[in-house]
């Protein structure tokens, strides 16, 4: 089994707010991230797939295909977007790094043909990231 990771960057804005909580609870839990006008990050997405090496091609996965799928399913939808307002997953869900990792997993899991999705990692900054390995 070989694990292969492909990286891509996108930039997006978001804010954290739970409408079921009071304004003061939102402020207490989410702090600066609760600013209703939003703020942004340069996100880095790492997608790790696993599989055996094809004898003929020497590939686990065709990187060109993986890149196209990541661009089409994730980057085109998230890059330079306000996640809360423009990405359907976050209409009723807070766009934390954890939830973005889960949303990206769901966007990709049925799109990979040969290799199996192993891990989605989202860096919000170089000092903070979330990993999702599917439901466990």
């Amino acid at each position: 089994m070989i694990y292969l990771t492909r990286k891509v960057e996108f930039s997006a804005s978001h804010h954290y707010h739970n409408p079921e909580l009071s304004a003061s609870d939102n402020q207490r839990i989410f702090g600066k991230c609760n600013n209703p006008n939003g703020h942004g990050h340069n996100y880095t997405l790492e997608v790790t797939v696993k599989g055996s090496v094809d004898r003929q091609t020497g590939f686990v996965v065709d990187l060109k295909q993986l890149k196209e799928i990541m661009n089409r399913e994730v980057v085109d939808a998230l890059d330079h977007r306000y996640l809360n307002k423009e990405v359907p997953e976050f209409a009723n869900q807070i766009p934390t790094t954890e939830n973005i990792a889960i949303a990206v997993w769901k966007r990709l899991q049925d799109k990979l043909e040969v290799a199996k999705l192993h891990r989605v990692r989202i860096y919000e900054t170089p000092d903070l990231w979330a990993d999702f390995y599917g439901e466990e």
């Binding site: 934390t96 954890e98 979330a130 439901e135």
Partner: protein, 140 residues
């Protein structure tokens, strides 16, 4: 949905690798330049990984403020700009980064309860790093 959250911190500290149970010559042979009696220092990067179910109300595994406050109070405030050999944890242990990884893991495991501790990873320099998951195998 279970997710894993990792936060990266930095502190600078000095240390000397020296084992009292070995002779001077053995210490020199084992630790080389790291045995310099005056010590030397590193910028350590510490990555703390916690896991848990994502709370539907907050979208979080664990509130970053809680983990930041804990690490600042219990680790960075004690270890940053310190000589590791003078800390109680290293009175009877050589402050290698292997041991430092276990020490930091144990501090978190014992007193940080806002999330499930998965592992600690420490970079001593850009060229070497150490990971400890309480004895468990690491997950890629």
């Amino acid at each position: 949905m279970k997710a894993y959250l990792t936060r990266r911190y930095m502190f600078s500290a000095s240390h000397r690798l020296h084992c009292d149970g070995l002779s001077d010559a053995e210490n020199q042979a084992t630790y080389g330049k790291c045995n310099n009696p005056f010590g030397h220092g590193h910028n350590y990067f510490v990555e703390v990984t916690v896991s848990g179910q994502v709370d539907p109300a907050t979208g979080m595994v664990c509130n970053l403020v809680d983990i930041d406050n804990f690490v600042r109070r219990e680790i960075l405030d004690r270890f940053d700009h310190a000589n590791l050999n003078t800390l109680p944890e290293f009175r009877e242990q050589v402050p290698t980064t292997e041991v430092l990884s276990v020490v930091i893991y144990d501090i978190l495991k014992q007193s940080f309860h806002a999330g499930h501790l998965e592992k600690v990873r420490i970079e001593e320099t850009m060229l070497n790093s150490f990971e400890y998951a309480g004895g468990a195998e690491l997950r890629i």
